[in-house]
Amino acid sequence: MSQIEHLVTLQSPNGGLSKSKAQLLYWNTEVFICNGTRFVYVFSIEKKHITAVYQFPSIIWHIELCAGSSQLYVLCAQNGLYLLEWNEQGRLLMEPSSAMNKGDLTVYQIGSHFGLLLDPSLCSFTVANEVLVVVLVQQDKWKITMFQRESLHREDLFTAPSREVKFSHSHGMNSRGLQPVLCCASLWKEKAVRTDAACNVALNAVLFTRLFGVDVAILESPMILCGFPDGQVVSFPLKSAGMHQFANQSLSKLLYHLEQPVVSIGAIKMEPCNQYAEQPSMENRACNCLLIVGQKGLIVSVTGSDNPDAVSCVYKDYKLPAPVSCTSYSASGVFCCTSSDLIHVTIPHLEKEAAASTADFTVSSCFHNIPMLVALSQASTLGDTHLVALSKRGCLMLYKVNPKRSADQQHGLNCVNAGERIKELLSGIGSASERFSALKTVADEKRGSLAKLSQAMSLSQELLSGLWTTCPVRCAIRVSWTHMLHKAYMTVYCNLQNNSDYVLEHGWTLCLLISTDPITSYTFPVLLLKSRETKEFAFPLCGQKSHSVNFPLQITCFLFYSLKGFAEHCGNPSELYMCSSYQHGVCIPVQDHVLDILQCLRLSPSAAYCSGLSHTFPEDAVQAIWKSSSESDQLGASSMTVSNQGSNSTLPLKASVRLSAVLLAHALRNEPSGRSLCCVVLHWLLADVLVKKQDLQEVRGLTPDGKEFCIRVQEVSVSHLSLERSIQAVEVQILSSYLHVVAALHLAVICRFKILLQQDEPNSDGLCQGLNFQKVQHLFTAQELLLKEVKDLRARLGMDEDIICSAAAQRLLHIYRDLRDPGLFFV
């Protein structure tokens, strides 16, 4: 089981730890920590706390331990190399500048008298056997110098180096503040290695010889490998006694160019194909694979190939998916820290060249979601691998990794940030659900709009495709009178009936166009009209000026569906385009109605009361007063109008229409019988205003503009047309004191009858018998002349504004008088 144990938290410098400066060294149950500050901390794993802190003059870049001689070399930035030495009891051999005790902890101030090589251009170093190798940075090159460790005295700060090697660096990569990485590689020997030999890497003979050459291998000289921040990896021998530049070989060799900064150089033993062999302890095993790890995730492995025909090394590139901040080498692989993961990389043993092309390296993740590590070190090599790691925030942790089991991919949550992770997840859920609900609302809206639109379209289609008579949406018009403040108002009621299967919802409006002068229109929003329901809309019909209403009135109804709301909902431009052709809405004509004067009459109380009247008509006494008032009105306006009345105000004007009884009977056969024909006719004429079925033959009332009238229906016989006998006819008499009233009613009645008789099929039997065709013809011709004359006069009237006093008007009136009494005869 992989375990993480949190050891201690260090104070980290502002802005977190920079990656390349932190380091951990493990020695003898103590961990030396440098975290990019001026301090080196010594943490004791047994006591589980920091035991000592050493403060140096400037930021520490690199530390290295020489375990055999209990020495710690410390490189301070822009300052130089310092040396700390301890005796067997753990005391410093030299007195520090000051030592403060804080409980269990001692803080030592290290001054310049601990300095070994004070040179501000030192940027990296390593200790290899008795030699100290340092890297100095100069303007355009790196200089690697070697010193004999014994020859370095603290007193003499100007020791001449024993050897120098120079390398030039590529442009532009030096400014990142990265330091070169040094590694000492030696040839592995079966004899026990000297304990104080600080060569970190022992390569087997094949790899060593093939990589570095025969001369170095024979002399068993350790090689220094240096990885520069510009990606160059160079090597040169430590023992170069006598080996100068040969004809074909130069002393220092460029091994590889990573083209990315080098993080570390080390060596591992490649995994053999069969993993059953037990792994012995690390000291006696030679590594057979050199690894160079680049900062951007490139790992280069250098192996001596097993191919019997090859004499050179095999370089293979492996790419990690993430940049690497620090590494630690174990026997079988390398632990790489990326920004979120600690991975263990093992290189498979390539047995055959042919299989090498498809063989991939094994990357097994040890931990996920660990805090970013900046330093890593092996803590022990027995059994499980222990790693000590320093996170970016300064937490020192102990990882117990079992690399064999790490293939199980344990996604353990680090207890340190489990809480944070849960919070993160929950907030993620919250935000996701918010987004979802917002989206859902929008989707619902869209759906609703689309459903409405679809309904509207379907309804429109149905309405438009059908005939007028079968239209599922119909509206019926009726008129009623209301009284308000001693005035009578005519109200038109429009009854909208939805016989379709669709619901007329929000968006539909009923529009009515009334052909008054000027044209009036009313719009009523249909908020909700469900299927098989009706709704009534009322509007006044020119209340104040009812006398100027010219009947018949044309009322056009249509339904309008507004698409303006849709355009806002449509986010998609293509949908918008579709709507743009219907910029306002869909308009469906429903029905046309004709409102004639007969529907708007106010009958006297003796006849019947009309629907919708709240109170009864005034009585005759009131009527008398009305008449007198109207007369006075009339007299007042007499100069303007042709006398509407007859010269004798008491004698009403009369217009009559006669229809053949047979004809009428036939035409009105659908009406409920049981009454005399005259009643039927009267009822039929005034169906809208007469409700009760009474046996009436005469009605009196008021026209919409308040003028009295009387309609009488009686039976007469007409003899002048027929030869043999007289034709039974029904005569409708219209009586009123006013000519315009008579004329309007006359016209309305005639129109009605006309419509009635045109609707009906002509009954061919019996009607035309006994007619004196000559007489008829004579009448026809006479009336044709009259018609022509009327037309002419009308044309003249149309052109001539001043009609009132003209002779044409007089003539027209004269003609009309002739026509109206006796009136026309419908046969």
């Binding site: 001369d215 024979i218 004499v311």
Partner: protein
């Protein structure tokens, strides 16, 4: 800095002068310090102080009154700095000089122009006495800077300006011109001055003369104009310089005479150099080379031994010498200029040379001793200095090991041979896999390098097997010996040759010789074991591979004779007789190309076995008799 004395005058110039003088006094005092570290510290302090002082002075606009002081301080600062850092007069020193010149021009109120024109303008104007002496000093420094960068013509121009002599003799006496100009340079008298200098101008003039002479001598030497070089160097030798430089001058003189084929004179000079400076090891080395050339191996070895001893015990470090002037020739003429004339090889190289010469001379004991010592030193010793190129670089380590084994073989220390060879083989065998086609060696550069290395490794490994086989054979372990010879041949088989045209390749020839030697070795072993048929096969193969290999024919004859194939033997003998001269010539040709360890291979049987020859002759005669008698009988 402490300002000593009272301030008489409230003046910057006075303060600065006092500061300068205290710096100079500190410098002069530090000369007497014994502790090198403290001395170095003091000197460093002097440098930083003088640098700061110069900065202070140059912070203000230049004034005629303080200008001499400024120039002097600059002069002091540059000389101090070149003393405290390695490398002498550096390019960066010319920058402050240029700045100072600009300031002078500014004071003179003239327009700013480039480089050399400045000096003209400056020197053309009138100056006070102080100014003149300061300018002279600076001019001297400028010449030194130019000389150190090899800009001789600029120095000539400046000096001619100083001397106000027109550049009349241009063509013919060009070489002497610089020196004569320096001589003609009138340095203003140095009265006890208020402003102290780290070195007086007259001394500087002498040093300049010496440096110029030496420089020109070395240039002539590099240009192979030896006689002229001699003239210059002798001039240099007669002028002011330290003993070390004098020794170097003598060394160069010796080299010139040596190149002029006057060995005795050169030897004389080298001895002179050694007498002047015990540490002048290059002279010793050159003498050893001379002895080698004239064939006096004893003296050569003696010289080399001395050289080695001197290298092993370095003695007192030069830099702690107290008797050097602040301004000296070494600053101007750096050791890199003198180049190969004054470099001595390292102790390893000397050791190797000794070992090799002993081996070549066949003084085997000494050779073995030297080789073993060398190998031990290479293994144990840490690196020493030696970044610059050596006149006698070491060969490859495997070659050294092989030579050591050959020496051991000659010395009959067979077990040691086996040890050394196996050590070599342990490392080399990793690089010997793969087939090499000799044709492709000339083509692609990168591949050719690695192939050449591989070829080298194969040659070394097979040589090691050969030597091991010989040793085993000598120890009496025939089987092991045959195994080693077989391994040698197996390795050599990997070297293949496409066209027959490229057989001229040296390595290929060497491989042939190795193969022949191994085959012959096997022959001997088989013969010793009594397997004569196999021995014959091997002998036949050997003759096929390298007909000119000495001993091939005789071994074949021997084998044939032993097996009783007398007729065959006779024909081979006859063939050999006719072709003898040719084969001998061939072998001599090849022998020159062989590496040392191969050319010493004890070629057993290279001289014909006398008894065998007699038998052969007898046999031939008998046959002839038989033939004639048979012919006679037939006639009858």
């Amino acid at each position: 800095m402490e300002v000593d004395g009272e301030t008489e005058d409230d003046d910057c110039g006075t303060w600065w002068t006092q500061e300068n003088n205290s710096i100079i006094r500190t410098w002069q005092d530090s000369e007497s310090l014994l502790d090198a570290r403290i001395r170095a510290q003091r000197r460093q302090q002097c440098h930083s102080d003088s640098f700061h002082l110069l900065q202070k002075i140059q912070g203000l606009p230049p004034a005629p009154r303080t200008l001499p002081l400024e120039l002097t301080v600059l002069y002091n600062m540059v000389i101090i700095h070149s003393n405290t850092t390695a490398g002498g007069l550096l390019a960066e020193h010319s920058v402050p000089v240029e700045d100072a010149l600009s300031r002078v021009i500014e004071v003179l109120g003239q327009d700013e122009t480039l480089g050399a024109g400045r000096w003209e303008k400056i020197l053309a104007a009138d100056h006070s006495l102080e100014m003149t002496s300061a300018l002279n000093r600076l001019a001297g420094l400028q010449c030194a800077l130019w000389l150190s960068h090899g800009q001789l013509q600029d120095a000539v121009d400046l000096l001619s300006l100083l001397g106000r002599t027109p550049d009349l003799h241009n063509c013919s006496h060009k070489e002497d011109h610089l020196l004569s100009l320096i001589k003609a340079w009138k340095v203003p008298l140095e009265e006890p001055e208020t402003i102290l200098t780290v070195q007086t101008t007259s001394l500087m003039k002498d040093v300049l003369y010496n440096a110029a002479a030496l420089l020109q001598g070395v240039i002539a030497l590099n240009a192979s104009d030896f006689s002229q070089a001699v003239i210059f160097l002798q001039e240099a030798a007669s002028s002011l310089c330290s003993s070390r430089v004098l020794a170097d001058i003598y060394t160069c003189l010796g080299c010139s005479f040596y190149k002029m084929a006057k060995p005795q004179v050169s030897l004389q000079y080298w001895r002179l150099a050694l007498r002047t400076d015990f540490q002048c090891l290059s002279a010793l080395y050159h003498s050893s080379v001379l002895y080698h050339d004239i064939g006096d191996t004893e003296s050569e070895l003696e010289a080399l031994a001395l050289l080695h001893a001197a290298l092993e015990n370095p003695g007192v470090d030069d830099s702690s010498r107290k008797t050097s002037f602040p301004f000296r020739t070494e600053l101007i003429v750096s050791s890199s200029v003198l180049g190969s004339f004054i470099h001595a090889p390292s102790s390893f190289e000397v050791k190797y040379l000794m070992a090799r010469h002993c081996l070549q001379k066949r003084s085997i004991d000494q050779a073995v001793g030297h080789y073993l010592e060398l190998m031990r030193e290479l293994q144990d010793r840490s690196p020493c200095q030696g970044s610059s190129s050596s006149p006698a670089p070491l060969p490859r380590i495997p070659a050294i090991y092989l030579e050591a084994s050959a020496a051991l073989l000659e010395d009959e220390r067979y077990q040691d041979v086996i040890t050394v060879c196996s050590e070599l083989l342990d490392s080399v065998r990793h690089l010997t896999s793969g087939v090499i086609n000799v044709d492709s060696l000339g083509s692609n550069h990168e591949k050719a390098k690695s192939m050449r290395e591989q070829l080298n490794c194969i040659v070394w490994a097979s040589s090691a097997y050969l030597l091991q086989g010989e040793a085993q054979g000598m120890l009496g372990d025939h089987r092991e010996s045959i195994t080693d010879f077989t391994r040698c041949i197996n390795l050599l088989v990997k070297v293949q040759c496409g066209n027959s045209g490229s057989v001229d390749f040296t390595e290929y020839k060497v491989c042939g010789i190795l193969k022949a030697a191994a085959l012959l070795g096997r022959y001997h072993q088989f013969q010793d074991m009594g397997e004569n048929t196999k021995a014959l096969t091997n002998a036949k193969l050997c003759l096929q591979v390298a007909p000119a290999f000495p001993g091939a024919t005789s071994c074949l004859l021997n084998a044939l004779w032993t097996l009783g194939q007398k007729k065959e033997a006779t024909s081979q003998w006859r063939r050999y007789q006719s072709n003898k001269e040719n084969l001998h010539q061939q072998w001599e040709d090849i022998r020159g190309d062989l590496p040392l360890y191969l050319s010493l291979i004890r070629l057993r049987g290279d001289s014909m076995d006398e008894s065998l020859i007699r038998e052969l002759e007898d046999y031939v005669q008998n046959e002839e008799h038989k033939m004639s008698s048979a012919g006679v009988a037939l006639l009858l």
